[in-house]
């Protein structure tokens, strides 16, 4: 809503003319100011004058000698323009006037022996256009002697307001006037909406067959002369952001902006049978609206029709057939109320939003159609020369019943924190048009017809707070109930800190992917990640599915970085995935677990001159998961090989919590998938379900470290490839004895070891809690360890 302060002055005499101060008041009222545009003429002291005489200059043939009256009698002005004759109404700059933003002061001046008392101005000289060929010739509506700037509605300031959807009343000049009057504690006034007497009787009849139209008013105006509207009206419309079209259309728009009430002008001669019928649309009915689009209607639409066919889409847009045109002489002024949800659905169904529908769908003052009709008739008479016929025809099907609201004083106090006396509450409400009276502990208020948002006690509390001013309420700090992060939240932060400490950066990717991304991963047909929940109204294919895995987003991010010259990529994301599992009971949302995903590309390890950076591979992924688990005290992580896409068939594993619960997979991306993303080398990915990692592991208890000496020995075994290192470690650890640790430290395949076998060396450390182990004990443990691995099919290397 764009508010011209000059226009606004028709309805309220504000105590200030400073646009900033008025803007602040509007902000405080909840009408957010989006901008202020200041408009000032480039001239000062230019008056409207009439050219009385025009004669040739005695000594010059390029200029003429005129006498011009600007209200104080004829005076000589020499003029170089030829586009006017005596009788013309023109803008005149008399001595003392200043043009061109102060750079061009006008003084008395002799031109070839004749004194010129000023100049007649061109549009260019007044900063009103590029036309410098002749002077501006005004029409007879400009009164001689008046300030020309006034006619241009200048100076002015236009405040652009963002009106919240609950306040259709504020989408009008009078609505803003009422708000500001209430704020400043002053009066405001309505424009002249009194009825104009009409000649004779009109044949017009109005019938409403559908009570989604609660009331409809119509009046016939005859003898309209189509043409442009007066300059002041055009300027006001333009400042409100509405294009001037013709006097009849402009008046209709002007009344809408002024009163917030949409109106419509039909060409009455095109209304068949002089009869208006408001009815539901017929199935298959067609109507071409003013924008030239043919609309297919149905019973859910509401139509204004004449005897023969639909002539406009109720509350939304007029029809082409009944539109006023240059040949129109008789007009039907239509002003109606419409059911807001009906208009909302209708405008949405036809993808047709108009200034009218925008107001009707929010709720237009139900008491406004009659005054607005009178107002429009008056303005048509004033600007288009029309004369009303008969009386206003009014048909009402649903009378307006205002809400009576009982506002307990206690609700005001409980909500706002201040006990306000009933009188103060009433003082705040009355200027808004709320009729309010006090009882012992309540204020009883009647809803104004223009405030659809005021129906409940809390609605009035807001009005009181708004008018009193939000700044008047003293700040306080409530006593919290004792808060803090949960164990899971603390552990998630530690997990993230561990990830960044391990060199990974946190990524954020969209919660969507397309079918293409799942195909590129090459997931198995029965993989649950294949069945994603579909977005019903996606904007792009890439956003058509809710993600079932974080990997596509992370791989996209990796690709982006590689493409921009970052070769070593280490990214993680913690976010939700969405599983399209069996539809649970009505109204239950799908499972949407949080998942930790990561991707590694390039090399890892410390960097620098001559450094030993290691290209990442599946082991990097497993090592990362182990380090993460250690960082949050999860205990040992079990690793089991799997062959599952999108992982490399021989370089992927599931990872298990120490209680055996699987919490994710990690490994190298299948080369096909890596190629699909254009990523070089081995690409490491992992996806871990976060909940099992964050689960409170319970209280841990201190273990006293042994002060006894340790005994280390190494064993190298030759093993079939089917025996994993983990199995060897487990077999040794299972030997009953003082084993402190078992750590593999060498792996060998090649000469000396047969195909299908490998050699694994482990270092075993023994330590008793209470004594030094004897060499016999160590030797015995060694034998038992060898025996335990032999059970797995391993033999001591060199002893095969």
């Amino acid at each position: 809503m764009k508010v011209s302060l000059r226009w606004l002055a028709d309805y309220v005499d504000l105590p200030t003319s400073d646009p900033d101060e008025i803007a602040r008041a509007l902000d405080d009222l909840g009408h957010e100011v989006e901008g202020i545009e200041r408009l000032a003429p480039s001239f000062e002291g230019v008056l409207v004058g009439r050219v009385e005489t025009v004669e040739a200059h005695p000594d010059a043939d390029k200029v003429r000698l005129t006498t011009v009256d600007t209200g104080d009698g004829p005076t000589d002005v020499v003029c170089g323009a030829w586009n006017f004759e005596a009788g013309a109404i023109v803008p005149v700059a008399r001595p003392g006037a200043v043009l061109m933003d102060g750079s061009f002061p006008i003084t008395e001046r002799a031109i070839r022996g004749v004194t010129s008392n000023g100049m007649i101005c061109s549009a260019k000289e007044l900063g009103l256009g590029e036309d410098a060929d002749g002077i501006m010739v005004l029409d007879d509506g400009f009164e001689v002697g008046t300030d020309f700037a006034d006619h241009l509605e200048m100076p002015d300031a236009v405040i652009d307001l963002s009106i919240t959807p609950n306040r259709p009343d504020a989408m009008s000049m009078i609505g803003i006037a009422r708000e500001l009057a209430a704020h400043f504690g002053i009066d405001w006034r309505m424009p002249d909406t009194s009825p104009m007497p009409g000649d004779g009787t009109s044949a017009l009849t109005i019938e409403i067959d559908d009570d989604r139209c609660p009331r409809f008013t119509g009046r016939e105006v005859r003898g309209v002369e189509m043409g442009p509207s007066p300059l002041w009206m055009q300027l006001r419309l333009e400042r409100a952001g509405v294009r001037a079209i013709s006097n009849v259309v402009d008046v209709s728009n002007y009344v809408m902006l002024e009163l917030g009430q949409p109106t419509h002008a039909f060409d009455f001669d095109r209304v068949a049978g002089a009869r208006i019928v408001v009815r539901s649309g017929h199935e298959g009915e067609k109507l071409t609206t003013l924008d030239g689009v043919e609309r297919l209607l149905g019973p859910e639409d509401i139509v204004v029709a004449d005897d023969e066919h639909g002539s406009s889409l109720g509350g939304t847009m007029g029809g082409e057939d009944s539109e006023v045109s240059t040949s129109t002489t008789n007009v039907l002024v239509e002003v109606a109320s419409w059911d807001p949800p009906t208009i909302l659905r209708q405008s949405r169904r036809h993808a047709l939003r108009s200034e009218a529908s925008a107001r009707y769908e929010r709720g237009v003052d139900v008491a406004m159609p009659i005054p607005a009709n009178h107002r429009m008739v008056r303005l048509l008479a004033e600007t288009a020369g029309g004369a009303p016929v008969g009386e206003l025809v009014v048909t009402e099907t649903v009378p307006f019943v205002p809400a009576t609201i009982r506002l307990p004083l206690s609700l005001v106090e409980r909500t706002l924190g201040v006990a306000l006396p009933a009188e103060e509450i009433i003082d705040h409400l009355t200027p808004l048009g709320v009729e309010a009276t006090a009882t012992d502990d309540e204020v009883v208020a009647v809803q104004p017809s223009w405030r659809p948002d005021l129906t409940r006690p809390i609605d009035l509390v807001e009005e009181v707070a708004r008018l009193r001013g939000y700044a008047t309420f003293e700040s306080s700090t409530p006593s919290g109930a004792g808060g803090g992060l949960s164990t899971e939240q603390v552990r998630e932060r530690r997990l993230r800190a561990a990830l960044t400490g391990l060199g990974l950066s946190e990524a954020k990717t969209f919660s969507f992917h397309g079918h293409g991304a799942l195909d590129a991963l090459g997931l198995d047909a029965d993989d649950p990640r294949q069945s994603a929940i579909e977005v019903r109204n996606p904007l792009r294919e890439e956003e058509s599915l809710l993600r079932t895995t974080l990997l596509p987003g992370l791989l996209d991010a990796a690709r982006f970085n590689v493409a921009h010259g970052v070769g070593d990529v280490a990214l993680f994301e913690i976010g939700r995935v969405f599983l399209d599992e069996e539809a649970p009971e009505f109204g239950t949302v799908p499972e949407q677990p949080a998942v930790l995903g990561f991707v590694l590309v390039g090399a890892s390890g410390s960097s620098g001159v001559g450094s030993n950076r290691r290209p990442v591979d599946a082991f990097s992924g497993v090592g990362l998961v182990r380090a993460l688990a250690a960082s949050i005290g999860m205990g040992a992580v079990g690793v089991e090989s799997i062959d599952q896409r999108p992982l490399h068939p021989g370089r992927g594993a599931r990872v298990l919590r120490d209680d055996g619960l699987e919490f994710g997979v990690v490994g190298e991306l299948h080369p096909k998938a890596a190629r699909a993303w254009g990523l070089p080398g081995r690409v490491v990915v992992g996806e871990l379900t976060v909940a099992p990692m964050l689960q409170d592991p319970g209280m841990w208890l201190f273990v006293e470290p042994s002060l006894q000496p340790h005994a280390d020995f190494d064993l190298a075994f030759v093993l079939p490839d089917s025996v994993s290192a983990a199995a060897v470690v487990e077999a040794i650890a299972a030997v009953d004895g003082a084993t402190e640790s078992v750590v593999p430290f060498d792996l060998y395949r090649g000469p000396g070891v047969r195909d299908g076998q490998h050699s694994l060396a482990v270092r075993i450390r023994l330590r008793a809690a209470d004594r030094t182990l004897t060499s016999d004990e160590v030797a015995e443990m060694r034998d038992r360890c060898i025996e335990s691995v032999r059970q797995l099919g391993g033999t001591l290397r060199g002893a095969e």
Partner: protein, 345 residues
């Protein structure tokens, strides 16, 4: 005293000091106290001396020998130090050469901003909750006093998903506010909770909008929460988050689920109110929306609207983070460009 001892005593310090290497010192030591030295000779001749002289000469020899030993030890330690110093000098490196560099990653700006916001409220006694991103129309709209034909529910604004029965109206939550309803259903008052999370709108990515973004929702409900409490709480937040001298302005606004409602502006942190890129001129930056919980919301979740009052607020994480750090385009938060992520601290 034996003149040989006398001579030795006089000469030894010079000899020891002149030794310029550990090897030379060893040779000097040999010369003055070694087997061929006068001291050794005298010691060997002790047996021939008369019994009463033996202890006297013996003491004298020991005295001189000890003196020399101290000199040698002192010299040795000096020479050893010199040798080590030379070794260390040879071992010097240019530490400006990167050699064993450890890379650490960074938290995403959205995460660190959320943590920062959340921690301020945790300090005020709030708990932190998390809610589903795929949400029902009831929680996202109906429970929040947003009628079925509200424009925000249109497919042009809200992303809907196919899940469950068609009448389920499953959608990607457009705000973190549905957690207000869920949390109140699960917890009796008093409630003090903040809810950070992802939200979604049917929008294309441009400089300031994204179909996916983040909000932090807050809710406080008790028997005596007032509009003043709302103001005080958010003023405290603004000072903590934007700086101690931050001013705050509450403007009336409209949200379906709060009444009275307000938008909150803070004094610009990019300028002193004279106008800059951050505030776009007026010296105020709009940072969040808030209001007193509408009684209809209490009714919807089964709270006694006559017995409790509360306030709620919501803020856009990206908006606040971008304004504070001068990010020029929201895509920088989603591209995961490591050159950008590396700037986050």
């Amino acid at each position: 005293m034996d003149p040989r001892l006398e001579t030795l005593r006089t000469q030894a310090p010079g000899l020891v000091d002149d030794a310029d290497s550990l090897e030379a010192l060893d040779a000097v030591e040999q010369q003055v106290v070694g087997r061929a030295s006068p001291i050794a000779e005298i010691r060997r001749g002790l047996g021939q001396l008369p019994a009463e002289e033996r202890p006297i000469v013996g003491r004298a020899v020991k005295e001189v020998a000890d003196e020399i030993a101290v000199l040698v030890d002192r010299r040795r330690s000096v020479l050893e130090d010199e040798a080590e110093t030379a070794l260390l000098a040879a071992d010097a490196v240019d530490l400006t050469v990167p050699m064993d560099e450890r890379a650490t990653g960074t938290h995403h700006l959205i995460t660190s901003t959320i943590d920062e916001i959340v921690d301020i409220f945790v300090g005020l006694g709030y708990r932190v909750a998390d809610g589903p991103e795929v949400e029902t129309g009831w929680y996202n709209f109906d429970a929040l006093n947003t009628p079925a034909d509200h424009p925000a529910r249109a497919e042009s604004d809200t992303l809907y998903v196919d899940f469950g029965e068609p009448e389920d109206e499953m959608l990607l939550r457009t705000q973190t506010s549905p957690m207000q309803a869920r949390y109140m259903q699960d917890h009796d008052p008093p409630v003090h909770v903040v809810v950070p999370g992802r939200v979604f709108r049917n929008e294309t990515l441009d400089a300031t909008h994204s179909p996916v973004f983040h909000q932090v929702e807050g809710l406080a409900v008790d028997t005596d929460i007032t509009f003043g409490d709302l103001k005080g709480t958010l003023e405290h937040f603004a000072r903590e988050f934007f700086g101690p001298s931050t001013g705050t302005r509450f403007r009336p606004h409209f949200f379906p689920f709060t009444e009275p409602s307000a938008e909150v502006d803070v004094t610009c942190f990019g300028c002193d109110g004279s106008g800059c890129k951050v505030c776009g001129g007026p010296g105020w930056v709009e940072v969040l929306g808030c209001g007193m919980v509408d009684p209809a919301v209490f009714d919807a979740v089964g709270y006694d609207s006559a017995g409790v009052t509360g306030f709620a607020f919501g803020m856009g994480v990206e908006r606040m983070a971008m304004a504070r750090h001068g990010l020029t385009h929201i895509r920088h938060l989603w591209e995961n460009d490591l050159r950008v992520l590396g700037q986050f601290r």
